[in-house]
Symmetry: D2
Subunit: 285 residues, 4 copies
Amino acid sequence: MANIKPVTWTETPSSEYPLVERSLHPTGSTVAIGDVAFGGDSFVMIAGPCAVESRDQMDASAALVTKFGARVLRGGAFKPRTSPYSFQGMGFEGIELLQGASRKHGMPFVTEVMSISQVKELEPHVDAFQVGTRNMHNFDLLRALGETGKPVLLKRGFGATLREWLLACEYVAQGGNSQIILCERGIRSFSPETRFTLDLAGAIWAKQETHLPVIVDPSHATGLPQLVGPLVAAAAAAGLDGAMIELHPTPDDALSDGDQALTPQQFEVLMTTLRPIVEAVGRKL
Amino acid sequence: MANIKPVTWTETPSSEYPLVERSLHPTGSTVAIGDVAFGGDSFVMIAGPCAVESRDQMDASAALVTKFGARVLRGGAFKPRTSPYSFQGMGFEGIELLQGASRKHGMPFVTEVMSISQVKELEPHVDAFQVGTRNMHNFDLLRALGETGKPVLLKRGFGATLREWLLACEYVAQGGNSQIILCERGIRSFSPETRFTLDLAGAIWAKQETHLPVIVDPSHATGLPQLVGPLVAAAAAAGLDGAMIELHPTPDDALSDGDQALTPQQFEVLMTTLRPIVEAVGRKL
Amino acid sequence: MANIKPVTWTETPSSEYPLVERSLHPTGSTVAIGDVAFGGDSFVMIAGPCAVESRDQMDASAALVTKFGARVLRGGAFKPRTSPYSFQGMGFEGIELLQGASRKHGMPFVTEVMSISQVKELEPHVDAFQVGTRNMHNFDLLRALGETGKPVLLKRGFGATLREWLLACEYVAQGGNSQIILCERGIRSFSPETRFTLDLAGAIWAKQETHLPVIVDPSHATGLPQLVGPLVAAAAAAGLDGAMIELHPTPDDALSDGDQALTPQQFEVLMTTLRPIVEAVGRKL
Amino acid sequence: MANIKPVTWTETPSSEYPLVERSLHPTGSTVAIGDVAFGGDSFVMIAGPCAVESRDQMDASAALVTKFGARVLRGGAFKPRTSPYSFQGMGFEGIELLQGASRKHGMPFVTEVMSISQVKELEPHVDAFQVGTRNMHNFDLLRALGETGKPVLLKRGFGATLREWLLACEYVAQGGNSQIILCERGIRSFSPETRFTLDLAGAIWAKQETHLPVIVDPSHATGLPQLVGPLVAAAAAAGLDGAMIELHPTPDDALSDGDQALTPQQFEVLMTTLRPIVEAVGRKL
């Protein structure tokens, strides 16, 4: 058992969130994915399909994303699925397709990392690591990401309190990496009409308590495309820093979560409706 | 038992919400409290203290409400309190104070009705009945309100699904009164940092499923004044029809829920910040 | 508004639950429905159909209930249904059928009261009032029941905290009636496999905090007949005072909640399995 | 990225839980930790401290565990803590102390594994791997454990549905290891009086749906020692296969979760009370 490192027991610091609390940067910090800054004067849209499926799909997706004004591409190559019998993602090959589409269309991308064994391999290839809702409490993964130089988009666990979410940031930040973007993606509640319950108040609370940028993911939160546009507008009006949504060139063909993806037409309407609201709060898209 | 009326068993109609479903009024219906229309081209603010406490407090509150552009006064005279040992409201006398402040400042008011025994007495005096979260499932009260001619502001039960909320509307509408304004006020969830979890997505869903106006109450939903302004802005951007908030001329003196009431200064900031967002979605305050 | 009584504002007492807290009766109090005592040396089974449907159905139900050793009959005549378009119960006529079956088979019965307008009419006819989960927060109803001389079976609101449940008891007890039996019937949670989540730990907590008898209703809590027997056994082993279950002579014909009712055969197995467990904790059925 | 293995996409099988569903072993399978079988004719108690703290503490704990009739020792060496500033466990050294106490007192032990990097190192030393609630969705860890030859005690995620819990078993079983014991340890709900809400009905449901043994952990579920005994008794009466509880020779000195640990006296009462209930359901301790 020689290579299991002894665990360091740090003394409780004076503050509960000593590395991410708001008082460290009272006006907020910015975190950049590639050349796109979160937490500054832009409300940033991240868009793309749930899962990487093919070169054509990623190329068409990236073209749509950039055409209507979103600035970061998303797509899953490693998919944490509830059932081992569901599509698990394209893995390595998917990362290459993401990278290709990203470079061709001149926009950075973010993709999920599922395991510490992937961190070192993925680091040179990705613009940002996404930690999914099921891994928010995977403390070893959080620590491993804290030792990288790439930003971390940290989704809230669907069963996690707000305090637990901020403490997950501390696990990342302890390694020296404070480039963290928080993403509220819906919590479990008793109401079955939406897949999860988007805790917008919780996202605002997190923004007020920490210096980190905070965004929302209304696609996963609700599972209902018709709610995505109004919720993105709401997040912009509330002063949050961006939104992450799912779109698909042809949702009916999607291998994963096609029901919740926006069509190109819905995405265009969303972006058109969003612009004046973003401007009303003194920011730009 | 002669005066217990036999219960009528209506056959299941073809639609689940035959009286309030969206298809009846595809562009939405408007409901007026006094001369203030909800569901039209205005985003309407309802404001006032949690509880009516004195003539001076109501006069000062109404002056603040109207000064900064809110259009409907709120205040509780009958307070449904978790503990029988908490302040239960001023009752009859509180209604008189509300009515006085309302008339003096030229704005309608809404107040909570707790019991069918109060309905007939209150009807001539109030501009609208509020059904509180604990009474959303009080079907006899809903039926009694359906037989009045005054609008009903129906808060969602904090343990109620969206479907149950819409079916509560059906109970009211069955009596012939479809002047219903829905109010999302937070549901119970596991996260303790906010008092309840404001289900903004659920409010938008209700707006899409019914023809009724839908508003939010972020004061009760969160219990945290610093979250109220951003959430009102969010509701406006999302296309909802208004918000109901708590303010108090001097929150530290409040007999009920003082912690969550906005100060006059906070209320002014809220209204100033809100205006450009309301205009960005093509409406007015 | 003359007959709206001024609300009394009682000063906060030294204890949170001054009338029901355990310290008043450290060994627990007993509450009798008819001649059947809850909270003493028996674990009491209440059984019957969800809704009263006909004289034959009630006669057959009461015969089953008593044959296998349950001691109190249940049945709903006034049904609080989520939709106004569902069967609402037989009303007055149902009470007469309940009373008839109860007298014929020599066992007391409990039935739900939905509204203060029914309290005075029902009081002479019923052996106990049941307050349903949707009315736990109907404070005027609780107060009205506190002024009667009949025991109150108070179900926990499916969205109510334990503290709120105990404070609902205080509303009843304030009127002078401390004959209260608490019934845990499942709370709302995110897990869809069972209808609600039976909070057995919460029921035990309530038993430890108050001097009142506490029972469970696993039929409504789970909606799954195959879970009812094990949960009744669990309640008995945990030291609770009884259980309330649904059975139907012919569940497939039930007008309400037939899916969750036990068949006569399932009920017989339940009672047979239960007996040694009840004896193992030093009680009798 | 050469050593990131391509992900295999298995076709959806005919059943949802093809490896753990009940129909495979209609009378249930047994899983042994050391020489102690779960799922057979014994109701098995696992007991010990939350965290391994010292040789003396483990020796005293193991002596207590065996003295009063529990058969498996527990203790955490790697502790997944919400805050990185809390005690993280003794790591490697803790495993040695566990193993020492286990061998000295002649009983097997189970301990938590937090990360795939620990699996191979721990395998020769532990009698069973525990997967904690925060790792139930750590699919790579589940797969890695599926390739070992040691039993896996799989706790339910506190935000996981029952279906998700059973699918987590499929992840383990896919690797060839079906020695899985399910442990319900409380889910998140809105009620703050207990730390979590023990879903006993869910545990029974899992027992009926799968062929695997199912136990409960009332110490973590409630955080209240006075609820632990009644809930263990409830689990036994409901036909579940065991319980896992926390005890500490001197709870006031515990480094982690001391508030919820039973004292030696409380543990003795629990075991004495439990025995007749276990016998009443035809099993032994």
